[in-house]
């Protein structure tokens, strides 16, 4: 299983209080498609982007200028190219952890849909990770433990425990 799956999309829609603008289906190759009346959109990031854009920019959760849109897109790209394999390749988590080193929130200085997508994508991996593993990925753990307390984001997901104090020597 890869991590960028339909659950992430439906959870993100819930987070934005949106209905997906069409049917979400999977191709045999594992790709996600969104079928609307007028067209088909293929690919996890593209599907999400078309959903987010259909929202307009009324909400503070979605990008309000080209800069923010570019940042959202690059995190979606990280999700599909790297995080997607985090349950089978630990280098994926290392890479993500590095990316988060200087970041409080993924886009701008507030929580946004980008955080939500990454949260839902990485959740299954962190839920299974041991304390030792979580401690190794300190930036990821810090970001995650910050965003997971937003009730709307959490939506039924259990809180994952992180240790504030290092338990291991390395």
């Amino acid at each position: 299983m890869v991590l960028c799956d339909a659950n992430v999309i439906t959870n993100t829609c819930k987070f934005l209080n949106l209905n997906a603008p069409g049917d979400i289906a999977f191709l045999p190759s594992g790709e996600v498609i969104l079928k609307t009346k007028s067209k088909e959109v293929k690919g996890f990031a593209s599907v999400l982007e078309s959903i987010i854009i259909s929202q307009g920019n009324a909400s503070h959760l979605v990008p309000s200028n080209p800069e923010e849109l570019a940042q959202l897109r690059q995190w979606l790209e990280i999700c599909i190219t790297t995080v997607n394999f985090a349950d089978s390749q630990s280098t994926a988590i290392k890479e993500l952890n590095e990316r988060l080193a200087k970041v409080n929130f993924l886009v701008g200085n507030r929580i946004s849909v980008a955080d939500a997508v990454l949260y839902y994508t990485i959740y299954p991996v962190l839920a299974r990770a041991t304390m030792h593993e979580k401690e190794q990925f300190c930036h990821l753990s810090r970001w995650f433990s910050t965003v997971q307390h937003l009730p709307k984001l959490k939506a039924g997901h259990e809180t994952i425990a992180f240790s504030r104090n290092p338990l291991y020597s390395n």
């Binding site: 299983m1 890869v2 045999p28 190759s29 594992g30 790709e31 067209k39 959109v41 293929k42 690919g43 996890f44 990031a45 593209s46 982007e49 078309s50 854009i53 080209p66 800069e67 849109l69 570019a70 940042q71 897109r73 690059q74 790209e77 990280i78 599909i80 190219t81 790297t82 997607n84 394999f85 985090a86 349950d87 089978s88 390749q89 630990s90 280098t91 994926a92 988590i93 890479e95 590095e98 990316r99 991996v125 299974r128 990770a129 041991t130 304390m131 030792h132 593993e133 240790s163 338990l167 291991y168």
Partner: protein, 994 residues
């Protein structure tokens, strides 16, 4: 805008083309050395960093045109990021490493682009978009490099060239000026892109794993017709750091055997892991204020680190808390249940409704039914020393919440061993000849009188739930599930686990453990396997060791005596030397002991002077006198004699190791090198080499033969000292791996003219000073060690040896009884131990009386004061003990409170007791502040004394501090209005004066 990139990154190309196309300026800088592995990053004027070249490219175009990419463009970008780019990158890296430029996956991708471009100049909507720029850039190395361009279809390269001729594209290439050559493109690709390239082809094929670890690519599986060896070592319990005794008893012994089997070419699987469920983990978790899961995570890691340091080569080191364990354990239980091999029986137990848990004996306190002591524990009263049943305590309370528990019937499952017994006996008769003697004796003594049903469930939380309605609140007894860990860990290792575990015909199964684990592996585990009706692989060889003692006492995890896995790493002695020594003293047929002096002796005499000396001498001579190339060996009668002797040792070595007699095996290796040393010594090649031509030739032959013996020794050492074998192998430059497979007979493996590497000494000397220092450092318990390292004085031997020794014996026996009781409800099992305990206690009281009779009897001036003083002392002792045992304040705080109360009462009593007390003046107000100061000083000094007393029994050490304390107390008493003379005549200080 600023672009940070390397010269040959197609990603940078995307950004620069977009910048030129929109007529924006971008400055280019090279990345700092540390960030070389990351992709190109565009830093916007606002400071925002875009590390995705696709979104950076889109951003530049969108910011300039004011309209967003069409969703079709985004689809192309996503496809480029997930498919095209990883595949092209992987192709480039492959070609730069000398592979052919063929890739059906890249070919398919290129065809998709051609198809999309059919009859159109651009990919989307007949105008140039980010999609065109991005794909053009990614294909740039393919089109521009001759080695790669042949896989690009002609219509696609036409499109590419057309774009290349546009101003903005041409200018971008000029600006970045990438170096031609496939290797230059390959060097700019971040390694992570390559790692995921194979995953991105078929994402649905990637299976989910339980954790972040990679699945094993090529698991070891049994091979038909070969000797397939399955090895497990008793699972170390997770709540502590393993000590040397644990390490030699199971994991290290099994490791040597596994390495031997592998070196003999047998398909070998070695599985172990940590045993994590049970009360002990729960207790430890409460003590450390963590959840059981966190405790297990923490200690599992510690165990892994220790074994890694010791070079234990597990094929898989797992955990019993894995979901496979639950699955296999429940499945096996249900099979036993279905076949009618389980019983249920009710037992009375205390349930704490507040904590919602049944209380194990060690979690209950209450009033002793025999002597009325208030703080009796669930298994024993500390005051009268009688053993009690938790359900008989008056006013019982839960140790955790202090609420009153209720007595409740609890139904438990028992495994009906008598029904399985005939099968077990039959199996044991055929299997036990292959066991070590002690295993066989212990196992037979267990079944001698027939087996009884054994309880296999517990009222705990941290364990595997019983999968039947009405019992789902209960978990399996840790010894029921632990051995199944071997099976579940194999399942975690490979999906074909049944090839090992349901294949008794083709698999030979060895278990390594210390003798205390034998009953569970020889009776319990086989019984559950036999009872299940499945065709299980059941143990053929139980390899049990005796105990390893530390210097002259015992290793003890609970008391912290001995050398622990984690300490070993700071001794400066290499892992291989530790392995050697532990195996040299392996308690194979009787208890043996670890001693620092012996470690030093064995290292210096056997490793350094015998083995290391021989190998080093042989190789140094070859290097110096024969230009590092092996001379021709011409056998003489003496050489043949030597080879015959060595072959005899080799036969002995193989025979010993086939039977896992690891300690003996080591002796044969040392004998081989001893033969070698004698051979060198009697032939003196260093003299011959300076002689005439014939003598020189003979010297060469001797050295050639010696070097080959060194090669054999390296192979024989492989199971014992893997790193040393590596080192020797490097020094010999031995051809291929096969040179170090363990042979049946000696043969010449290093041919004439074989070039050897650079010889260097293999071992270093441990001197007496170092050994003494280590001995001193690890003497006593870990607390003593800690005290000493913080500057305290070494502990002198106890003065009142008799009493102390008895006290220790009582404590140890008490621990044993508690453990037994927690393991079984069967009174016949623990009653004898209990009797021993009671006997010991009697002796202790007598000894104490005798000891008390020796000093002058205290001058009693008020009975009340005396009894209170005694109570304070007793309570103080208790608090000290508790504090030493646990850091958990909740546990000892109530006791401290009691102690303070007692002290207050004592103080009051000593004020009132003297007849003249009524005449005493109340303390003048002016001295009130002085009094509180003194009180604080008394408290502080009291702490000092208590600490000292806990650390040492030596009166000379703590007496001065005690005197200070008494003086302070006297001053305090004076201020508070009690005349000093009276205080002296009664109470504690009075005793000391006489």
């Amino acid at each position: 805008m600023k672009l940070i990139c390397v010269q040959n990154d197609p990603g940078a190309l995307k950004i620069v083309v977009a910048a030129h196309y929109t007529k924006q300026d971008v400055s280019i800088t090279a990345p700092s050395r540390t960030k070389k592995n990351l992709s190109s990053t565009l830093v916007l004027d606002s400071g925002v960093e875009l590390f995705s070249s696709n979104s950076a490219c889109s951003y530049i175009l969108e910011a300039s045109s004011g309209s967003n990419n069409a969703i079709e463009v985004q689809e192309f970008l996503e496809w480029e990021a997930t498919k095209l780019n990883p595949l092209v990158s992987s192709l480039i890296v492959g070609v730069s490493n000398g592979k052919k430029a063929e890739s059906s996956e890249v070919g398919n991708c290129l065809k998709q682009i051609s198809d999309a471009l059919k009859g159109k100049p651009y990919l989307v909507d007949n105008k140039l978009s980010a999609a065109d720029i991005v794909i053009w850039s990614t294909l740039y190395p393919l089109v521009s490099e001759q080695k790669l361009s042949k896989i690009v279809p002609s219509d696609l390269s036409e499109w590419h060239n057309k774009l290349s001729s546009l101003d903005s594209f041409r200018a971008a290439v000029e600006k970045l000026n990438p170096k031609s050559g496939v290797e230059n493109w390959a060097s700019s690709i971040p390694p992570v892109t390559i790692q995921f390239s194979n995953l991105s082809i078929a994402p649905s094929a990637v299976k989910s794993q339980g954790s972040l670890k990679l699945p094993v690519a090529n698991p070891v599986l049994p091979v038909k017709g070969k000797k397939n060896i399955l090895i497990t070592s008793a699972l170390p319990y997770v709540n502590n750091v393993p000590h040397l005794g644990n390490i030699i008893g199971c994991v290290l012994s099994a490791d040597v055997f596994a390495r031997y089997c592998r070196a003999r070419g047998h398909p070998t699987l070695y599985i172990s892991g940590t045993d994590e469920y049970g009360t002990a983990t729960e207790t430890k978790a409460i003590a450390e204020g963590l959840t059981p899961k966190q405790i297990c995570d923490k200690y599992h890691e510690i165990h892994s680190q220790v074994y890694k340091w010791f070079n234990i080569g597990f094929d898989h080191f797992g955990r019993t808390s894995h979901e496979h364990q639950t699955e296999i354990c429940q499945d096996l239980f249900l099979k036993l249940h279905k076949r009618g091999l389980t019983l249920t029986e009710s037992m009375e137990q205390l349930l704490c409704e507040n904590c919602d848990r049944f209380l194990a004996d060690r979690f209950v306190e209450g009033e002793c039914p025999l002597c009325g002591y208030e703080d009796a524990r669930g298994d024993q009263c500390d005051k009268c020393g009688k053993l009690v049943n938790a359900t008989e305590l008056k006013n019982p309370r839960c140790k955790l919440c202090q609420k009153k528990p209720v007595t409740k019937e609890s139904k438990h499952f028992f495994i009906d061993l008598p029904k399985i017994e005939p099968k077990l006996r039959e199996w044991m008769a055929t299997s036990s000849p292959g066991w070590t003697n002690n295993a066989s004796v212990i196992a037979h003594s267990w079944i001698k009188d027939g087996l009884k049903p054994r309880c296999i469930t517990r009222d705990l939380k941290w364990g595997i739930p019983v999968p039947l309605d009405g019992y789902r609140e209960k978990v399996f007894y840790v010894w029921f599930d632990a051995p199944l860990g071997y099976v579940s860990m194999t399942k975690t290792y490979t999906n074909d686990w049944e090839k090992w575990w349901k294949n008794p015909e083709e698999v030979e199964y060895y278990q390594f453990m210390a003798k205390d684990n034998v009953p569970f592996h020889a009776v319990m585990f086989p019984s559950t396997q036999l009872g299940s009706g499945d065709n299980f692989t059941i143990v053929n060889h139980i390899m049990a060791t005796e105990y390893l003692n530390y210097e002259d006492g015992k290793f003890s995890k609970s008391r912290g005596v001995g050398v622990f896995g984690s300490d070993v790493q700071d001794t400066g002695i290499p892992a291989d030397v530790w392995r050697f020594y532990l195996l040299y003293v392996r308690p194979e047929s009787q208890d043996s002991s670890f001693s620092w002096n012996d470690l030093m002796t064995k290292n210096n005499s056997e490793l350094l002077n015998n083995l290391g000396n021989f190998i080093n001498r042989a190789l140094m001579f070859v290097e110096k006198n024969f230009d590092s190339s092996i001379p021709k060996v011409e056998f003489t009668a003496e050489d043949n004699e030597l080879v015959k002797n060595i072959n005899e040792e080799l036969v002995g070595y193989n025979e010993a190791l086939e039977k896992a007699k690891l300690r003996d095996g080591l002796r044969f290796i040392l004998a081989v090198s001893r033969h070698g040393n004698q051979y060198m010594q009697s032939n003196q090649p260093w003299v011959l080499v300076k002689g005439n031509e014939a003598e020189k030739k003979r010297a060469g032959s001797i050295l050639g033969l010696s070097a080959n013996i060194a090669c054999l020794i390296a192979a024989l050492l492989r199971p014992y000292m893997p790193c040393t074998t590596e080192t020797i192998s490097k020094q010999l430059q031995a051809p291929g791996k096969t040179a170090f497979d363990i042979p049946d007979t000696f043969s010449i493996l290093l041919p004439e003219n074989h070039k050897i590497g650079k010889p260097a000494p293999l071992f270093s000397k441990i001197d007496a000073a170092q050994a003494d220092q280590l001995k001193a450092r690890f003497a006593g318990s870990q607390e003593d060690q800690a005290a000493r390292s913080s500057g305290g004085k070494p502990t002198p031997p106890s003065l009142s040896g008799d009493v102390a020794a008895l006290q220790a014996a009582v404590a140890a026996q008490g621990e044993k009884v508690r453990k037994l009781k927690s393991e079984t409800k069967d009174k016949t099992v623990w009653q004898p131990e209990v009797n021993i305990l009671l006997d010991l206690k009697k002796k202790l009281t007598e000894a104490e009386k005798a000891a008390a009779a020796a000093p002058p009897p205290p001058q009693a001036s008020g009975e009340d004061i005396d009894s209170l003083t005694a109570a304070v002392a007793a309570q103080g002792e208790k608090v000290r003990k508790l504090k030493a045992e646990t850091k958990d304040k909740n546990v000892w705080q109530p006791e401290v409170q009691k102690l303070l109360d007692l002290k207050k009462r004592l103080e009051a009593a000593s004020k009132n007791a003297p007849p003249k007390a009524e005449a005493a003046q109340p303390a003048p107000p002016a001295s009130a502040s002085k009094a509180s100061e003194l009180e604080a000083a008394v408290a502080a000094q009291g702490e000092v004394v208590r600490k000292l007393k806990a650390e040492t029994k030596d009166k000379t050490v703590w007496q001065p501090e005690v005197d200070k304390l008494l003086l302070l107390k006297k001053q305090l008493a004076e201020i508070q209005g009690v005349p000093a003379t009276q205080t002296q005549s009664g109470g504690k200080s009075g005793k000391k004066k006489k």
